[in-house]
Symmetry: C2
Subunit: 147 residues, 2 copies
């Protein structure tokens, strides 16, 4: 029973719902379902993949709601959008702390990577007045499975 209770309020689910609250966004059943289906997923799913998972439990769920909710979560600061594939499709990442991504050129899998210790920014001179607010690093290559 403790496990069941914990699954309802896993730390990530709780933090996503708190973020919605802070942003004055309503906690609707749809949003709750999407948060639960997505927030502990490290595979960087597409909106379609999240939608497919939810159809079973909420058959009336609209595709637009998935986009709207992920958008709301992003505005609330508990989700990020990633565009790392050739087709430009959006992948959603529930991790919002600093981290990088490795993309397998063969199978397309996206994996979180801890950033290099003492990673460097370009020399100020090379930035030429540009003010860096965020850094994204993408490693392209072959995952352990595909090698």
């Amino acid at each position: 029973m403790e496990a069941r209770e914990a699954s309802k309020t896993s730390p990530r689910v709780r933090s996503a719902l708190d973020a919605l609250e802070r942003a004055h966004l309503r906690k609707t059943p749809q949003r709750l379902a999407i948060v639960r289906a997505f927030v502990d997923d490290t595979t960087h799913p597409t909106a379609q993949q999240i939608f497919d998972r939810l159809r079973r439990a909420m058959p009336t769920m609209s595709f637009a709601t998935v986009y709207n909710t992920l958008d709301a979560l992003e505005r609330a600061g508990s989700c990020r959008v990633l565009r790392v594939h050739d087709d430009g499709s959006a992948r959603f990442d529930p991790r919002v702390d600093a981290h990088d991504h490795a993309i397998c050129e063969t199978c397309g899998a996206v994996r979180d990577i801890e950033p290099a210790k003492r990673a460097r920014l370009p020399d100020e001179g090379d930035l030429d007045g540009f003010e860096v607010r965020a850094v994204e690093r993408v490693y392209r290559g072959l995952c352990a499975n595909c090698r």
Copy 2:
């Protein structure tokens, strides 16, 4: 007259055409026009922008030909595709040597950045068997104009 001659065979134009030849791709008038319109452009244009420039000189140019040619150039190794904007649209970059990009969150401009000296890869342990073939670094922030 030297200037005119040089403009017809700028080093980048020549290198792009050589690359086409090496890849056994034909040097058609359309491809030549696209190469000339694009190869010295550091603004990372969309296919639409390149198409608009060419309309004047080649009114019959098809939109698909722009994509096909940029694709051919990419396969030939003298162009890269960049997807750094929220809409996932493709930007084309004639620079194929190692460099990074800064994206202005206000105006959307994309600027080439020289990579940091001694930039680091993540620790092998964190890569967990992933074989890195290429690294892309994107800096998001404010360009000198928009600050």
